[in-house]
Symmetry: C2
């Protein structure tokens, strides 16, 4: 059983509801939409990611022998239901906003149209995947905007929340504009460029720091970024500069140095001076160590001559906002629009479409959320991506998704590209047609 | 390739260092220790968890065809190294603090003693596993302490950071004292009790709320906790009360109601009154919806008659502290203690042991971190758990781990059991022997 593809990656209530629907033969078409109710504090936009993994899950999820065994021995379900699950597959349709697209609260980013029990069972995993990747993509986009022209690398695996988080965070960050990741399996799995330097332990395990640098350079002549802060940063850079002529004779260039602690502005300046004085003007200064988009902005504003940044924990945990208010809500069942009215959690009913209107310069001006079929000006964002359980088209190459994300960030209104809360949030209109539908649904409930 | 067991679940620099060690034949014994440098704000202790998954990984990780193919085609490594990786296995020893044990900053919770390249390669995944589970166990323990006698259920899968996070969070929360989880696969994989009620969509998909309750009760007579807030909470509880006599005639009891929105204190009180008035005094009131340990304390302080809580997002993301400052540092290589001296990141060198000293009543009084072999009063916390790559003994049953955690929480000094920062943090002494070793290492470095 591959745990990442198991349909038991769900909440028990999904299975009990499925059983109840099965007993009551309530298998008519349901429409669920996945959306985020509000922006986290200090965020001005979100970025869609995770659709690829969601579609993969929908195509592949099925109950294998281990899953069926658990359902059987749980004592909660009838034998007929267990037999029924044996043939369970997702056979529905999916519409979605393409990965790398910027989105805002109340805008559906994924819509599932499927027999009720199927649409219900997949809720937990769909949110689990799309919530996480979209959260990290949005977080990564902030670093990309804060550090234009700098090389950004995902360093987050070790403090990501488990292995899948590490892998998917690397993917989401790459989509949003990070250049590469340190996570090898993310390279192997997604084709993301993988980069690496050395660890403090590597330096410590050698009796001399210079010997450690030399060993490393000879083993990896293409990756000569030296970690210089194990003992004393400036002395470390000095040793790199001193080794440079000998390495040059061996045909090995010095690619740069990595700073991982201390006063990064001062150390970047002195490292740059030492490297330049040794004629190593092409060698880069790379920085890491508890960085986030605010630190990046600070370092860049302070004029620190840093060419690239490794961003880890804050990125992969989305530290300032480690969750989004992402939900997956029933909008229609058996041809009738539905709406949840719980206090402060009411939703807009029915199948929806989002239109994005740009200004003359191509910048996004505002969005309109409306009922499907109610045509509006602007570009419709939701497109069909799966029909009767099969994907429409091949997985989108990650480079194309990344190019889309870059184009999206370039079209953001200027007020939304900073790290602080925009004075004016992006405008998202609810169309008259959608408001009218909500009123009709309410009236039908009351009557 | 099972991504959760792949040795490519690592940072590229681990592989490049491994290659360098291989070339330089630097394969002497290294000792690494995993510890947390400081407590997150408002936390007074941490709880060890994740050892089981870490040992599983160490026993099972190996380079399969797909991994070797990536290493080969990356162009970074020599063919001899690829051949060498084919036989790579972890053959080292591991000492650890048992899962469910409370621990504090600077205390090693895991020690790896292995040939340098092996100890190095596994760093990323060891931190990845132990960091996450320990973080969630510590977070969960706070809810357990804040809500004594209440039933706590993990509801977090959907907003956990990926599938593995959802599964491991369920495990960590159960260790810390949660009663159960909603995540089915965590039940199937770890034997944790799984519980569930119903979703709003279930109620919405029925034309009448009462019919939804009835269908559900008949399908799951053992799980009759009704979600009552889809439209109007008090009306919903009223419908449950009205259905009770008919259900009783069918032999179906009312287990309770779940509130998921609104003013939980007021609604719990009115729900309790409605249930009691209908003679349903045994039915429980269960609450969920953006809860964390502070909300639990508030609700309990306000006297809300709530029997159990579903805690989700805040738990599985450890929302207030979504990472710990967990590191894995080289402490000894080739028989010589080592120490990192980077600014603000210096470490204590050598192989260490932690002794925990209790007072006459059995409460923890203070800990002493010292060099291994320097016997101290108190109970040594680190024990051998793996020798030459094989586990010593079978996996510990989760129930025993959970019992240990409960015993540990009961022995915490009273000042540490609250949600706010203790006036006096727990005392952790660094022994004279360890201080002396650090000085010796520094002198050896300088000379």
């Amino acid at each position: 059983m591959d745990p990442l593809r198991s349909p038991l990656l769900t909440d028990l209530y999904q299975l009990t509801m499925l059983h109840t629907y099965y007993r009551a033969r309530m298998e008519q078409t349901a429409v669920f939409e996945l959306f985020v109710r509000k922006l986290p504090e200090h965020r001005n936009f979100m970025m869609a990611a995770g659709l690829e993994q969601a579609l993969e899950f929908l195509e592949q999820a099925q109950f294998g022998p281990e899953e069926l065994e658990w359902v059987k021995t749980s004592g909660l379900f009838t034998p007929e239901f267990v037999t029924h699950l044996r043939g369970w597959r997702f056979t529905g349709d999916v519409h979605a906003i393409p990965e790398g697209t910027v989105f805002f609260p109340d805008e559906p980013i994924l819509r599932v149209t499927a027999p009720m029990p199927e649409a219900q069972l997949v809720e937990s995993r769909l949110i689990n995947l799309i919530h996480f990747e979209s959260m990290v993509a949005g977080k990564a986009a902030r670093s990309v905007l804060a550090a234009p022209g700098r090389t950004l690398v995902d360093f987050g695996l070790r403090r990501a929340h488990g292995a899948e988080a590490g892998l998917l965070a690397a993917r989401a960050a790459y989509i949003a504009g990070f250049a590469s990741t340190a996570t090898v399996l993310a390279g192997s799995k997604f084709g993301i460029p993988v980069v690496g330097t050395m660890a403090h332990s590597f330096v410590q395990s050698h009796d001399s720091e210079s010997q450690a640098f030399l060993d490393f350079a000879r083993a990896f002549p293409k990756c000569t970024i030296f970690l210089v802060d194990t003992y004393d940063t400036e002395a470390g850079v000095g040793k790199v500069a001193a080794l440079a002529p000998a390495l040059k004779r061996e045909g090995i260039p010095i690619h740069g140095v990595r700073l991982d602690s201390g006063d990064l502005v001062a150390l970047a300046n002195s490292s740059r001076r030492i490297l330049d004085a040794a004629g190593l003007t092409d060698a880069v200064v790379f920085a890491s160590g508890n960085l986030d988009e605010y630190r990046l902005r600070e370092l860049i504003d302070a004029g620190a001559p840093i060419n690239g940044f490794g961003v880890g924990t804050s990125l992969v945990t989305s530290a300032d906002a480690p969750s989004l208010d992402a939900v997956y809500k029933l909008q229609e069942y058996a041809g009738r629009p539905r709406r949840k009215r719980s206090a402060a959690k009411a939703t807009w009913p029915g199948r929806k479409q989002v239109y994005r209107v740009s200004d003359a310069s191509g910048r996004f001006h505002h969005d309109v959320v409306t009922v499907e079929g109610d045509c509006q000006d602007g570009e419709p964002l939701l497109i069909p991506v799966m029909r009767t359980g099969k994907r429409l088209g091949k997985p989108e190459p990650l480079k194309e998704v990344r190019a889309r994300a870059a184009a999206q960030l370039a079209r953001l209104p200027a007020g939304l590209t900073g790290l602080d809360t925009a004075l004016e949030p992006y405008r998202v209109d609810i169309s008259p047609a959608l408001r009218q539908l909500a009123e009709e649904v309410d009236r039908a409930m009351i009557s």
